[in-house]
Symmetry: C2
Subunit: 140 residues, 2 copies
Amino acid sequence: MQQQISVITLGVVDLDRSRRFYVDGFGWSPVFEASQIVFYQMNGFVLGTFLKAALEADMNRAGLLQPGAFSLAHNVSAKEDVIPLMNRLAQAGGVIIRPADEPPHGGFRGYVADPDDHAWEIAWNPAWPIDERGLVTFGV
Amino acid sequence: MQQQISVITLGVVDLDRSRRFYVDGFGWSPVFEASQIVFYQMNGFVLGTFLKAALEADMNRAGLLQPGAFSLAHNVSAKEDVIPLMNRLAQAGGVIIRPADEPPHGGFRGYVADPDDHAWEIAWNPAWPIDERGLVTFGV
């Protein structure tokens, strides 16, 4: 069994609003866009933003809730990159829910909610290497 | 800006119960275990299962809800692998929320909720290549 996740799919209410956060905020480019979904090719997997009603239909489960009990993290390679990225995400429709500070385990991080209330941790974690392809390796 | 996600963190109520689903169900091995968190090294990023109260404290946001408006997908390389894996996940504490069938866009997939109600799509999608390292590439 591969220790592998293929897709992270976020339920969104407004694709244009979501796209603005990911394209203008993070600076990412979609690999595919259709009327109900936008896909982004990530570091070894795919991120999808899918209309929430369509995700509920596909999943066969109505009533998906926000904020959900999860977070996504985007790590940056330098401590001084954390705050400017958080500010850019806020300008692109995000909401800062925890200003950046130093967690007990080291590094530097804050949290920003995307326009659908999905939480993103923006972190500098010098113990976790990131290679030139964006592949991230656990470290202590 | 790297088009990169470093960590997916799932809020869980009982680490042992969650560990059973991921270790016995998926057959994955933790890379790190502590009293509040278990990390798994994935395909170019890290999966964390973190006590929900600790995630809420870290995120500075109480009241995280389930089921959240997102899904994770684990793609398999053969159609006939989908149902056995779903059954194994159910035996390890998961709940099948959509039995496997063929979606309009092709392939074969079903959904299983983990013990904390996080939804996993188990899918065979022949259009999306998976390499020997588990790196997944979007395709149509």
